[in-house]
């Protein structure tokens, strides 16, 4: 059974016909080609499919697409700069070597976007807890945490400059 939904995806209004049985991961990947959204465990454990819905990180594999009707969805494809540049978050991940195979990276980047969006300071233990919904089998998390710490600090410095 198809249902028409209206979703703002990466800032663009989309009108989509989705199956009511469909999860948001499939809709984003197969109907919109947003393949940064990875299919990992598909049971909410690994975090590879993490996207933001109205600014909140959720596992898109445990989220019915019809629930996104009237909401706004953000994926890694939506965080690039006006000329296609990498976001500061992505740059930090690269420079801190927080990426190895890359499969967990888009999900972690989206969680980083949520964390930065709070404009709060977090210590390493708090960050450890905030990324606990992501599994990374390559890095051992240390470089990811280094990148996270750097992003949080950079963001706060930016905020201070603005004020």
């Amino acid at each position: 059974m198809l249902k028409i939904i209206h979703v703002k995806v990466n800032g663009k209004e989309e009108e989509l016909a989705v199956d009511v049985r469909e999860c948001l991961t499939d809709t984003l990947r197969d109907r919109l080609g947003l393949t940064s959204v990875k299919k990992g465990c598909e049971v909410g454990e690994c975090g590879a499919c993490t996207v933001l819905i109205d600014g909140k990180a959720v596992n898109s594999c445990c989220y019915l697409s019809v629930w996104a009707d009237g909401h706004s969805v953000l994926t890694v494809e939506g965080i690039k700069g006006p000329n296609g540049e990498l976001s500061p978050i992505q740059t930090a991940f690269i420079e801190e070597a927080a990426v190895q195979c890359g499969f967990c990276t888009p999900g972690l980047i989206m969680t980083a976007v949520e964390i930065v969006g709070t404009n709060k300071q977090y210590n390493r233990d708090e960050l450890r807890k905030l990324i606990s919904g992501h599994l990374c089998r390559c890095t051992g998390y240390e470089n990811i945490l280094n990148a996270m710490e750097r992003i949080v600090a950079e963001n706060l410095a930016r905020q201070q400059k603005l004020n």
Partner: protein, 295 residues
């Protein structure tokens, strides 16, 4: 694709009640973090779902005039943890639901789902038991209030009728004012973990902070349903807050719980943990209540 045969998005609580009433096979779904994952595992093949997702009627957290805290059943765990209204009064619950799954799961899963699942391992359950929460349930014949102590009917079973919807969790002022509370979850890892055993302790001390005035101890995964320890609680009332009492509490709760052997942990191990985390939760609860434990 999830293996479901029918899906209906309710537009209101009344609409959901009607939809559930019209279909004996229908199952409510809210946050989806249990139902959808179980469906993915094939547990609800061909299910009929009535979705309560996003109903504004269920999403508020408010305080009534008499101080009763009312948490809409559709509130997510992270909304509860971050609620400026709840934190000063029932921080134990705010911290307990911050130990569910992962941050993403906590952005989706709801307190209503956690309670309606009826499972003994629900992270909110011991705290809600210790807070004497009252569940507000709406059915075709109106609303009824069920004390959480009468809610659980067996493993994964509650007294909620098929066409009833849990609308809110209510916590009266007399159950939080002047109390200190603490929940400890024991699991093999700190995230993405189902509780091996959980213990919530809510304590009120005398004005001089030296004796116990009121005590509630509740466990998850220590019996087929979340349980309180009424005998131990009664024993402690009027007692001096000291090491002897701490020791006795840990021993006494063992006579009131009945954990089982499972692949997660043996009964013997659970009893050992119960004794210890009950003591630790009590110590912390006493500290939160402004007291000190003397040797």
């Amino acid at each position: 694709m999830y293996d479901m045969e029918q899906y209906y998005q309710a537009t209101s609580v009344a609409d959901a009640i009607a939809a559930l009433g019209a279909d004996p096979a229908a199952m409510p779904i809210a946050g989806g973090t249990d139902v959808l994952i179980q469906t993915r595992e094939g547990r609800h093949a061909g299910c009929h779902l009535v979705s309560l997702h996003g109903l504004s009627e269920l999403s508020a957290i408010r305080e009534e005039e008499d101080g009763t805290l009312v948490i809409g059943s559709g509130c997510t765990f992270s909304e509860i943890t971050n609620s400026p209204l709840l934190r000063p009064h029932i921080n134990m619950l705010c911290q307990a639901v911050d130990q569910v799954g992962s941050p993403q799961i906590r952005n989706m899963g709801t307190i209503g789902g956690n309670v309606c699942n009826g499972v003994t391992s629900a992270d909110s359950a011991p705290s809600l038991m210790a807070l004497n929460a009252v569940l507000e349930v709406q059915g075709p014949n109106g609303k009824r209030l069920i004390p959480i102590g009468e809610w659980y009917a067996g493993p994964g079973k509650t007294v909620r009728q098929h066409d009833e919807v849990l609308t809110a969790v209510r916590i009266a002022r007399e159950n939080y004012e002047g109390f200190g509370g603490h929940y400890i979850k024991y699991g093999k890892r700190e995230a993405m973990e189902i509780s091996t055993l959980g213990c919530a302790v809510q304590v009120k001390l005398s004005a001089d902070k030296r004796t116990v005035e009121d005590l509630r101890i509740a466990f998850g995964v220590a019996a087929p349903t979340p349980v309180r320890c009424p005998k131990t609680e009664a024993m402690a009332v009027g007692r001096t807050v000291d090491e002897a009492l701490v020791k006795e509490l840990g021993q006494s709760v063992l006579t009131e719980i009945n954990p089982r052997d499972s692949w997660r942990a043996s009964k013997a191990f659970r009893l050992q943990i119960a004794k210890e985390i009950c003591r630790r939760a009590f110590r912390q609860a006493v500290a939160f209540a402004g007291g000190e434990i003397h040797a």
